[in-house]
Structures are given as structure tokens and as C-alpha cells.
Symmetry: C2
Subunit: 152 residues, 2 copies
């Protein structure tokens, strides 16, 4: 049976590979910190925005609340964060970064910065901005929020 030509390096596959490569490298280098890339992302949001409910965290991370719940479980166990009750809403648990998170921040940020530099080596200047613009556009085009659609 004939197959229409599918480049085996389609956009989706390349994105998948690039994302996996970055995740792998980050986790290799952050292994001594004991910080996964998913956990690093949580810390970035908490340190920049302060304590957040899990629901808000889920929005920022663009993952489901249940995924946040278990991610926070492990991060709490590892001493990165703590859950504390919200004084105004007894359903809510505010996630708060602990001292260990602040202490590791600069170190992890350096790992990320070095990684991006290595990843982009050999690309023309301005490639990063072109790339991030395209990625933002793709994310917007595929998002569920209706206000994001059809603005050409």
C-alpha cells in the first residue's frame, strides 16, 4: 500500500525531540540539586509571584490540577515547598516556597541559562526571538480559550 510522503522530521516530532533533549540535559545537570525540570518550573512561578493556590499554579503551568497536586506532593516531601491553608477560603491550599528553594534558585537558573546558550549555538543572532515568537503563536493557536482564536 502506498504512503503519502510524511517527512519523519515533521514539526511535531522535532518539537518533541527538542523538548526531550532540553529536559534530559537540564535534569542531568540539576541532578545534584535533586530538581526535575517540572519542579524547577514550579519554583520559577512561586519565586516570581509569591504563594499561589494549586488552581492558579495549574493555570500558569498549563497542566491539570491533579498533576499539580502530585507534583506538589513530591516537592513538599523533598522540602522545596509547603502547603498552607488559605485564611479566606478553606478549600484552598496555598503553596509556599521554602528556604531551600531560594537557596537553589541561582544555581538552577545558571544551569538553564548555560543550557539555552548551548542549545542555540551556531544559530544566527535574533534566532531566539524568532523562535519564541513562533512558539508563542503556536501555543495561542492551539489553546482552548476562544478569545485567542481567529485573530489571524
Amino acid at each position: 500500500m502506498s504512503c503519502s510522503p510524511v517527512p519523519d522530521e515533521s514539526l511535531g516530532f522535532l518539537l518533541t525531540d527538542a523538548t526531550r533533549a532540553i529536559r534530559r540535559r537540564f535534569e542531568q545537570r540539576a541532578a545534584e540539586l535533586g530538581l526535575s525540570s517540572a519542579q524547577w518550573r514550579v519554583l520559577v512561578h512561586l519565586l516570581r509571584r509569591g504563594p499561589l493556590s494549586q488552581a492558579r499554579l495549574a493555570e500558569f503551568l498549563e497542566i491539570e490540577p491533579i498533576s499539580v497536586s502530585r507534583l506538589v506532593d513530591r516537592m513538599q516531601e523533598a522540602g522545596w515547598v509547603e502547603r498552607e491553608p488559605d485564611p479566606n477560603d478553606r478549600r484552598v491550599k496555598r503553596v509556599v516556597a521554602k528556604r531551600k528553594a531560594y537557596a537553589a534558585f541561582e544555581n538552577a537558573k545558571q544551569i538553564a541559562d548555560d543550557l539555552y546558550e548551548q542549545a542555540l549555538a551556531g544559530l544566527p543572532p535574533g534566532a531566539l526571538e524568532t523562535l519564541t515568537d513562533a512558539l508563542r503563536r503556536i501555543i495561542l493557536n492551539l489553546s482552548d480559550s476562544p478569545e485567542a482564536q481567529d485573530d489571524r
Copy 2:
């Protein structure tokens, strides 16, 4: 404690989000086929290259052999592929696409094509090529193979 500025839309996070968005959309639309994006990728390689050992498949997919093993388990159970012994090497199991895989191919390819068109809407012509060039470069820059390194 002060934090150096970390854009919460760094390259790594944007790549992660774009990849997840594409995966989610693909799987929503391919749900009736019962084909996940990881499984679709396996089929693309098998239909283009013919039967492959799991080790070769792992190389093409850029994942670990154990991940292939379990992916193929599920695909075999679902009737997409079969394992058959290699006549020349009794360690090897050749993975062969079944009729069901050929039958679903055009349908899945159409889903992928439509998805890429939607993802790239509003980007300038040539953006796809710029994007895939950058992604290929990133993958190369972060790969483990030494011959890929340091060619600037």
C-alpha cells in the same frame, strides 16, 4: 530574597507548552482511531522504512529501548503491529505494521497536516522552515553523539 529575572516564558517552557498543546490536539482528534501521538510516530517509521528491530526503532524515535518495548506491547495489544523473530539473530524481535496501521495512515496524516496548518496560522511564510531549522540545530547541539558537537 532577590531573584534575578527569569522570564517565565523561557525557551524551555515555551517548547514544553507547544509540544504539549500539539500532543493534546492530536490525541483529541485521533481519539476515534485510538492512536496516541507516540504510537503515530512509531507507525510513521514502520510504514516508511519497513519492519524494524526494537533497537533501531529506539534510535529513530530517540527514546530508550525499554520505552519502545512497552510502547510496542500496547500497540501489539491494540492490533497495530506484531513482533516477529529475526531469522538471523535470535535476540532480535522485528516489529511489523499490520493491515490496521496501513488502513489508518491517511486519516492520521490528515489530522497531523490540519493540525500543523492551524498551529502556524498567522505566522509569516517561511516561518515553518526557520522554525524546523532552529529545532534541528537545537537537537543537534544537545545530542550525546560527539561528532555532532563543536562544529559551531
